[in-house]
Symmetry: C2
Subunit: 94 residues, 2 copies
């Protein structure tokens, strides 16, 4: 897949819950507690399986950090932006 240039990524992410950090895009979601985090991660996991594209996931009790990059392409692609948008549409995210 084509790697997007940083300016295009920033434009696509503007005003949303994700930001570009180097060759990946990152979001942090603060929920109620660990169980709430895990429910969110399971919902993200279902989307990830559906797209066969998987974020790096960090759970720190009520805080979940997701990082997306297209490793096979070596950067950020349309696939990352698409999954980010689908994750944002989950109820309770952001």
């Amino acid at each position: 897949m084509e790697i997007l240039d940083p300016g295009a990524v920033d434009a696509a992410l503007r005003g949303g819950a994700w930001e570009r950090q180097g060759s990946e895009i990152v979001t942090t979601r603060r929920g109620a507690d660990f169980a709430d985090s895990l429910a969110f991660v399971n919902a993200v996991g279902a989307l990830a399986e559906d797209m066969d594209h998987h974020p790096d996931v960090d759970i720190r009790w009520n805080v979940v950090t997701l990082r997306l990059s297209t490793h096979t392409s070596g950067g950020i692609t349309r696939k990352d932006l698409d999954l980010a948008r689908r994750i944002d549409s989950l109820s309770g995210s952001g």
Copy 2:
């Protein structure tokens, strides 16, 4: 809870899947894929909820890293070792 001294922690962990890193204990579990990782994290989450004690969790596709510390005590306590042992008893871990 009482903070255990490093030697006691090392002795308790000897031969197992966890190691002490500073003021926490850490294990890494390599599974089949993202779905397998998520199933493992859900099993860990059930134990964590049961003990009201929650590890930091990192998922990198088929690799899960867990970190345990008793933040209210500022170090490693019996509670961390107990949860580590229960996690090790999960089928498919390690």
